[in-house]
Each structure stands twice: as C-alpha cells, then as structure tokens.
C-alpha cells in the first residue's frame, strides 16, 4: 500500500508538471509567481504548515480537557 502511494504521488507529480509546461501558458499563478509544479509545492507546503502551526497553537494555548467548562456554568 505504502509503495503504491509513493509511486502514485511521484508519477502524478511528473505528469502534472509536464502538462503544466505544455498547457499552462497563461496561468495566473500565486502572487504573480508561476512555475510548473507551483501548486503541487504549494499544496504540500501549506498542508504541512497548517497542520503543524495549528497543532502548535492547540498544544501550547487553546486545547483543554473536555470538562473544562463544567462547574463554571450555571444550569438554569
């Protein structure tokens, strides 16, 4: 399974970059920048950053035990 996935990712990268070179002429890109494979890199990097940054935020600040609010609220 793992090997298949690795092959899949590698192959799709190659194919998409090729297609990008061939067809992606007037693509608008990001912030004015565009190169073949930009969005692959962007997808991967953003994904990693989102996960890592959010987890950091959570572990160092925002996450609490499930019963955090119990006892502080009023049952009216």
């Amino acid at each position: 399974m793992k090997r298949n996935l690795k092959i899949f990712f590698a192959a799709s990268f190659v194919i998409l970059v090729l297609l990008d070179l061939l067809l992606g002429g007037e693509a608008h890109g990001l912030m004015g920048v565009h190169f073949p494979g930009l969005f692959s890199l962007f997808g991967l990097v953003s994904c990693l950053i989102i996960i890592l940054a959010s987890k950091w935020l959570g572990h160092y600040w925002l996450q609490r035990k499930e019963d955090y609010y119990r006892g502080k609220e009023r049952d009216d």
């Binding site: 969005f39 997808g43 991967l44 996960i51 996450q63």
Partner: protein, 591 residues
Amino acid sequence: MINFPPAVIFILGALLLPLLPGRVRSLAFLAVPLLTFWLLLQMESGTTLTVSFLNYDLILARVDRLSLVFGYVFTLMALLGGIYGYHLKDARQQVASLVYAGSALGVAFAGDLITLLLFWELLAVSSVVLIWARQTPQSWNAAMRYLMVHVFGGSVLLLGILWQYKTTGSLLFNHFEPGLASYLILFGFMLNAAVPPLHAWLPDAYPEGTVTGSVFLSAFTTKVAVYALARSFGGFEILVWAGAIMALYGVVFAVLENDIRRLLAYHIISQVGYMVAAVGIGTEMAINGATAHAFAHILYKGLLFMGAGAVLYATGKSKLTELGGLAKAMPLILALYMVGAFSISGFPLFSGFVSKSMVIYAADLDHRSIIALMLSIASVGTFLHTGLKLPYFTWFGPQRDLKPAPIPKNMYVGMALTAAACFAIGVYPNLLYNLLPFPVHYEPYTASHLLETSQLLIFTGLGFWILLKKLGGEKTITLDTDWFYRRPAGLAYEFLVARPSRAFGAVEKLSLRLVSSLAQASANPTGYLLEVRGVLRTYFFGSVSTRRTREPRIFNPHRYRWPLGTMTMVVLLAFVILMLLIIWQIISNAG
C-alpha cells in the same frame, strides 16, 4: 403576476403541521417547499409587495435576481432536508424547521428593515428549537447560549435600524452608507454570518443540534447573513479582510477538533469567509462568486452534515477518538459523504470547483493577491479536513468495534438527491450561473484551472499522508472566543444576580419585620411601647432580675389597652378638628 411572500407559505404550513396526524405530517412538510417553488417560478423580477404597518411601509416581497437565487436554494434545501428528516416523529422539530426555512426566505425577500428584523428574530427563535430538541443537558446549555447570543445580535441590529431610521428617515433595505447606524447593522449581520470574533456560537451550538436539525442549521442562518451582506454592504473594505481571516481561522481550528460535526461547523466559518470576502470586494464578478459559493455551499454542507448525522444516528457517537472502521458497515454513506467532500474541496466535476474559484478569480481581478493567497491556503485546509481527515478516521482508521444501527431509507434518498445536485452543478455549471445576479464572464473548466486544482489536491493528500500519525483526534476541547462569556458566567451570575438578590431579600425581610412591628404598635400603642421598654431594659441593664413581676412570657395586650371609649373620643376629636380646618380653608379660598 402573483407576488406573495414565500415566507408566509412556510409559516402557514408550520402552523398547520401539528394539526395533522403523524404520517401525513412528513408529507405535508414536503408539500410546502414544492408549493413555494411553484410560487418562485411565477414571481417577476423587479416587483414588490407593500403593506402598511402603523405609519411605516413594509415591503414584504422584493423580487430581484439576488433574492430569487437565494430563494431557490433555500427552498431546495428545505425540500432536501425534509426528505432527509422524513422519518421524524417530532412535530416540534418539523414545525421549527419550517418556520426557520420560512424566515430565511422572509429575509431574502424583505425590502425594508422592519420586515428584515421580524424574520431575523424568527430565525433565531425557531432554530434554537432544533438544538433544544436533542434533549441532553449539554445541548440545553448550548441552546441557551445560542439563544442569548442571537437575541443580543438582534438587539444590536435593532439599535442600528432605529439609528438608521432616526438619522436618515428611511427603512429601506438596500445598500448602506458608512456610518454609526450601518456599522451597528453590520455587527448584527456579521454575528449571524459567524465572523470572528462573533462566531463562537456556531461551533458551540451546531454539533449539539439533532441529527436532522443540524442539517437545517448549517444551511440557513449564515447564508441568510451572507445574503444580507451582499444586499447592503457590498464593497465594504473591512469585509474583505474579515472574510480572508475567517477562511483561515476556521481551517486552523478544525485541525484541533475531535467532534466531526464541530469540525464541519468550523468549516462553515471557513467557507463563509470566502463569501464574506467576495462581498467585500464588491465587483460584479465577486458578488456572483459569493452568491454561487453560497448556493453550492448550502447544498454540499447540507450533504456533509447529513453524512455526519447519519454516522451519529447509527453509532450514537461523533468523536474521532471514538469512531473508525465504519467503511464495511456504512459504505453508501461514505460514498455520498465523499461527494460532499469533493464539492467542498473544489474537485473538478463537483459544485465547489465552479464556485470557489470564481471567488478567488474575482480577488485576482481586483488585484488582491494576498487575499487570493489566503483563500487558496484555506482551500488546502478544507480538503485536508473534510476530504481526508474526517472520512479517514471515521470510516477507516483504527477499528473500534462499533455496531451501527440501520439508517432510514429516506436519509439515503435525501443524501443522494443532494449529492446529485452537487454533481449536476459541477458538471453543468450554467445551471447555477444562469441564476446569478450579474452576467457571468467566467469559465471554470480551463486547462490551467484543472491543472492547478489537481496539483493542489493531490499534494495536499501527500501532506496528509506524511503527517497521518499526528492527525488523529485528541480528547480535548478547544477554547474559542466564547471563553469570554462562558468563563465569567458563574462570576457574573454571582455578582449581578445572586448577591443583589440576597441583598434585596434581606431588605424585604427587614421591611416585613418593620411592617409587623408597625402593625403591633398601631394595634396597641401603649402595650407596644411597654414591650420596647422591656427589651431596652434587658439590653442595657442585663436581665439579672428574675422576679415574677416582670412581663409574663405570654404578652397580654389587654392589660395595656386604652379603653375603647377613650380612643374613639380621641379619633373623633382629631377628625372634627381636621374637618373644621378644611372647611375653613375652603371658605377662605372661595371668599
């Protein structure tokens, strides 16, 4: 041409529904949106229906392309939600859902601010029922918080409307000029749209709704607010940034979420961010984008909540830490859910592909690269959570030995129809584009767009796979801005309610005692004074003496009463003197 507020059909339907027997009710529920569809098709753009109320003119039906497109999607979702909830026996929820959907329509077609306010408040009041109906202590508290927050938002909105009326004399619901009044109204709209920091009610309350109720919840309140923003705050710069931040905010918080419906709720915030940003940009392309995205979002978000609701229905659980391995048992739900996931992620051939990109394109056209960047990053996050993390840990992942209960057929049908709609829009975008307020100059299926999207999605998948181990649910909750009113709630109660109450209670007891003393004193003045003398004596001189001549424990007032005759004489005398004085006054005044 018939010009009738569609909201009224829903509300009348809601009033009639409880009178019908159980089986007929679900059917009647479906009849309402169908009838409304027919009505919408008859309505002509550019017409209005005005009634007078006191000395104001209420515009109950203002028909134009913007209101019609929202009208269609609200009605459609009411129908799909009704099919999904066909098995419900709970009349409270059915009535509330109809009033809720009807109020959404009411806002969509409102031409003046009083009508807007009426339906806005009804939205809040009817939707809280869908949360209460879950009937757990947690959902009860969440419902009360939801209600309070929305009544608060409604109050600010009312203040803004009053101010608007006072300063401009107009109650028309059209584009607003910046000013105190419009900022207050904006506050009210943003609260319903769940713009941070006014958003915390959404992830707090939506997961606590019932299985069918949350489907309705996800569809209406926020999108009604988007409509309202599009109608009256197009081009307000603050919305662009608010929207972009929203889009990322939702995604960040969703990473930390354990409850699948709360995760989806945070994604509502994220997706609405696209719409809010687009409204802020304000160009025709942007408004088109906001509308298209709202339309698509109502459908695919409904579908996602239907899927998560089905999981909840079948297993009784909604936490990632408690779910897993359901693929064998619930494959169809997974497939239908994935249609929703593909749509929200913007997969080609699904509705998100043709709507989300219109927003980003509008941002690009307006030279807002940073915004476009932020929205694109949010796209990554969306696919990550909704398309990868949630389905993986719910249907795959560790086996938890869950035995899911069978799911009613109508839920499958509802989901399938909604999925079909998402697919149809994706494959044939003109279905949606033809409804949009402005002419559409956008072609989603270009080579570069397809390439871009494929790369984005596939490599987000790579990132997911790499960090898979870190992504499982954790048994925690995340603090959000609702901390500000939840944490101090106990303290607030203590200082604003409990302590004043005790103080007032003490004053009341004191007054009761004073009154009782007064009564005793006036009943028998001498006796009372004697008793007071006795008490004072004991205080100051100590009760050393135990002589029997002290006042007996049982106080006998008759020993000290003045004879009746004497009292009568005194009172009569006083009265006569008083009368003489009055008569003398009258005479001297008249003379």
